[in-house]
Every structure is written in structure tokens, then in C-alpha cells.
Symmetry: C2
Subunit: 119 residues, 2 copies
């Protein structure tokens, strides 16, 4: 199955998880196409100054893979600066946030996958 970038509908989220400004997210895979692997598979765009607020994942985890721009992430309280090609994993039970601290769009892939090891 092929899905081109143009075929991915964009959803707009204001103040996501209590963050600043807004996030535009395009799903490259629908959750129901993931064979039970996870609940979100998307490409997210945050404008300069925007963010997704600090939030926890339970029974699941999230991967951010940076494509463009400069991100400040908080990973269970620890701040890091991420550049294109860098990855963060918010592990099951941990909390994280992401903020665009550059002067261009921050573009990244975000995937929420279930913890398949839990009882």
C-alpha cells in the first residue's frame, strides 16, 4: 500500500497537551492499519515558538524522529537539544515535551506504540 504525502490529511491541534501555538499533523499510517502495533503514526510540524506540552505515556511509548529544525525536548525532566536525524523515545511511564526553539519550522515523525511486553 502506497500513501503519498499529498494523500495524508493534515489535522490542526491548538495548544496541544497545554503547549504553545499549534501543531499540524499528517498521519502516514492509520492506527487501524498498524496491525495492533500502536495508536499514532504521523508527521508533525510546529512553528517557531510552538510546543507540545509535557505529558506522560502509560502502557505505551512515543518516538520522535527529527526531520527539520531544532527542538528542545524534555525527557523525564532532562532537557536536550535535538537536530535532524536525532531521535527521542519517551519510554513507558515516562513524560516528555517538545518545543521549536529554532527560527524555522520544526518537522518530525511521531509514533505512539503500545507496550507489548506488559502482562
Amino acid at each position: 500500500m502506497v500513501r503519498t504525502a499529498k494523500e495524508m490529511g493534515v489535522n490542526h491541534y491548538e495548544n496541544m497537551r497545554g503547549g504553545k501555538l499549534a501543531v499540524d499533523a499528517a498521519k502516514f499510517l492509520e492506527a487501524e492499519e498498524s496491525y495492533g502495533a500502536g495508536s499514532f503514526f504521523g508527521r508533525a510540524v510546529i512553528p517557531p515558538g510552538g510546543s507540545i506540552g509535557y505529558h506522560q505515556h502509560t502502557g505505551e511509548y512515543e518516538i520522535y524522529y527529527i526531520l527539520e529544525g531544532t527542538a528542545k525536548v524534555v525527557d523525564d525532566g532532562e532537557e536536550r537539544i535535538l537536530c535532524p536525524g536525532d531521535m527521542m523515545q519517551c519510554r513507558d511511564g515516562s513524560s516528555h515535551s517538545i518545543e521549536n526553539v529554532g527560527d524555522k519550522e520544526l518537522v518530525f515523525l511521531a509514533m505512539v506504540l503500545y507496550n507489548h511486553n506488559q502482562q
Copy 2:
């Protein structure tokens, strides 16, 4: 957990799955870090003229998300040209291949996830 691009070791595969030339793949997440979700999470680079040969996935599926370059994929016999931002999913039981048909490096994310819906 943060892993920068520089911290991802690169593995070199010649004639992968019977394909042409070689593939360099850097794992952004190790399989054992994926909470049982899948077996491969990487960034792959194929030089012009290179390819990964046609192969089947059983009990699992694979996602290719194109980052740079131009790919010709075959998805269960159907040829498509993919550009940056495009995605292909080789579904459980299907076969696929990917070839760099451009004049620059083809860069894409590849993820092999298990079919969690099967009995």
C-alpha cells in the same frame, strides 16, 4: 531516552535481499527497546542504482518513509515512484522491493513491525 544521529552505528549490507550495490542502515531504535513492537527501526541509505531485492514479509509488515531522493518500489507486483514524504506499507503476507532510480542518495526510514492481531 535520546539517541543522536551520530550515536547510531551504521551497518553495511551488500546485495541486500538480492538487490544491487549496497545499503547502509543506522538503527535509531534497537529491537529490544521497542517493547515487543517490531524487529527493525532504521534509517537506510541506498546509492544511485542500488536496491533492496523483492522479498516477502510474513507475520510482520514493513513501512518505508522516504526522506530524500527518488525511489521505485514494487508493492505486490505494482510499480510506484515515491518522493520525499511518501510512504509505503508492505502488509503482512505481501512482497516488496525498493530501488534508487534518482541521481542522488535515496534516504528513507524502514520499520519492521509485528502483526499483533494474529492468533
